[in-house]
Symmetry: C2
Subunit: 407 residues, 2 copies
Amino acid sequence: MSVALSREPGQRRASTVLAHFALRRLLEAVGRPPISFVLWDGEEVGEEGAAARVHLRDSGALWRLVRNPSLGFGDMYADGRLEVEGDLAHTIELVFRASSQAPGPARYVLDRLGAPSRRNTPSRSRENVHHHYDLGNDFYARWLDADLVYTCAYFEDPRVSLEEAQRAKLEHVCRKLRLRPGERVLEAGCGWGSLALYMAEHYGVTVQAFNLSSEQIRFARLAAMRRGLRSRVEFVEDDYRSAQGHFDAFVSIGMLEHVGRAHYASLGRLIDARLGASGRGLLHFIGHARPWRMNPWIERTIFPGAYIPALSEMLPLIEESGLVVADVENLRRHYALTLEHWLARFEKQASWVESRYDARFVRTWRLYLASAIASFRSGSCQLFQLLFERTGGTGLPWTRADLYTGR
Amino acid sequence: MSVALSREPGQRRASTVLAHFALRRLLEAVGRPPISFVLWDGEEVGEEGAAARVHLRDSGALWRLVRNPSLGFGDMYADGRLEVEGDLAHTIELVFRASSQAPGPARYVLDRLGAPSRRNTPSRSRENVHHHYDLGNDFYARWLDADLVYTCAYFEDPRVSLEEAQRAKLEHVCRKLRLRPGERVLEAGCGWGSLALYMAEHYGVTVQAFNLSSEQIRFARLAAMRRGLRSRVEFVEDDYRSAQGHFDAFVSIGMLEHVGRAHYASLGRLIDARLGASGRGLLHFIGHARPWRMNPWIERTIFPGAYIPALSEMLPLIEESGLVVADVENLRRHYALTLEHWLARFEKQASWVESRYDARFVRTWRLYLASAIASFRSGSCQLFQLLFERTGGTGLPWTRADLYTGR
């Protein structure tokens, strides 16, 4: 540890010593990442030659950080009282990578800092969705692709454009589901409708797509009309739990994260009730490599009510519903790259976003996107595409070769 | 229900009525499959126009069956006191399919009939393996493929030969592992050595392969010598838990079933300890669609100490070991077809097998293979290939397209 000399001796000494001590303990607790802290008076705490520097603008910011590292970092960054010199995503990645190697007790302590989990009743789900997805379509249109696909893209090659990779994702999902013309598809959580419209347009299916976000449904309906797909795609502004009737396929992209552990069993029962004997389905969701708490700042500030499951936690949803896993693909690095595109585009729009919202909003979103990049790069988060069918079903082909031919 | 008239009135009547009652209750408990029972006196119990008929040769066989359906069926079939008219695998499949639809309480009762699970200590593992795999290499050579691959094949098309499908399986596994020349591979449970030799010959890796079966190890070492691969493939007659050193890849085909639930955590720790930072591994195993007991007859007679896990049961092995799922593929129908090949070849060798062992051995193996076909056809059993890597690893390519090109 290298500790710069105090500039002023005397009275400030005691609190400075305490600050140094606390920051060193913090660095140890998170596995000694190669970062240092620069205090408001210019002093630096941390390893010599650190790869990244975190500036603390006042002692209040320092104590907030030390008391609750995850919430404190987020809140102080959003306030502008904590700043990161250099690449934000890379700095957070260094911390995440070090933390995953941190000794058990430290990880245990960090683990306990999670927010208490809440039940996502239909009305709370509505609030949760409104909080994030009803920020205004023009906000998302500024930095997402043209189809507003707000989930992990699929890069056949990391050099292709975001637009191309999002199209490839929609195609990849349709192929995995082996959709056939005339089939009925139930989509739970349809975002701005890109997949529902793609399925109807390119695979000749009819789709019933549920979403609680009125902003998104409005956009999706307009797009269906513009593309002449109103008769084949029905966008329903309601909870997916309200779905009725029978379907050949079920699909849900980026919704399981919002369902919450307490509701996996009821989601399983819904799929079981809606899916026919030759039915199959796909869940595309962010997962943890093992059971782990949500990042509390993300849960409180960005995605209220969210929970990121390990595979072992969500699988009973499938296993207890007469369904079986046919195929799991982990697209973790694809999400890191997707988020890099989003953050780069977001930064180009930062002054527009600030004028529309405020500087705190910009910093909050910057931190959210950068920390998500870090999560996927470091392996804190994974992206699973899980294809399932009926136990004993015979609707899928013998191999997966058809997913990769003649695209 | 159609109940034929008793041929002889009087004294036998009471026991016959009881027998009919008990068999009807049994058929209801397993979800009313379209089968009937033909008693020793020619009477038939069951639905009219049943698709399959089960003959009971004496009242003792009937009561053994009724008291414990799973063990009783197996034991009485092996004894020749229970016979099946028509296709054995199809008949069992009808029962399995009906059972999976049976009402909860009946399934619960059947579920409780499982054998108590035992800990597979190294010495007991050795006994378990000896019981099945040391029956004599010439026995297995009579009905397996030329390379003695005794696990699920991979049929790129269901019409290809078993030989071709087994080769394709070895290739598929190597491709999934993305083996590179010079890498070190640890194989746990290597059978007769086909995969170890294939990896060394076609992918230029060195392999350390563990197996507790002395018969299999003897065969594998001979094959390594014949194929000039002794310097690159080491066959170790020992428990995989004895492995030392570091490896780039871990692979285990058809061994997890023999590990037992109590030992998943230690298997995970072994993989964690042996696998480098860019390591990846593949587990190929029979799974249940959901947590479920072993078939007690199979566990007692064919595979002592075996346990077939649901994915949710075995995943903690991965998740608690710094590893993460990269790819899961379900090859259930491939195993049904593999077993159909094996049973057909076995039947051609039945008189040789009987002369070498005895008629009871032939019937036991016929029932084992036929009931395995039924398990995979009906979905009672699944076959999972699970590829994993280090959490945050970057050793795998962006997509799985490379598995399907230029084969």
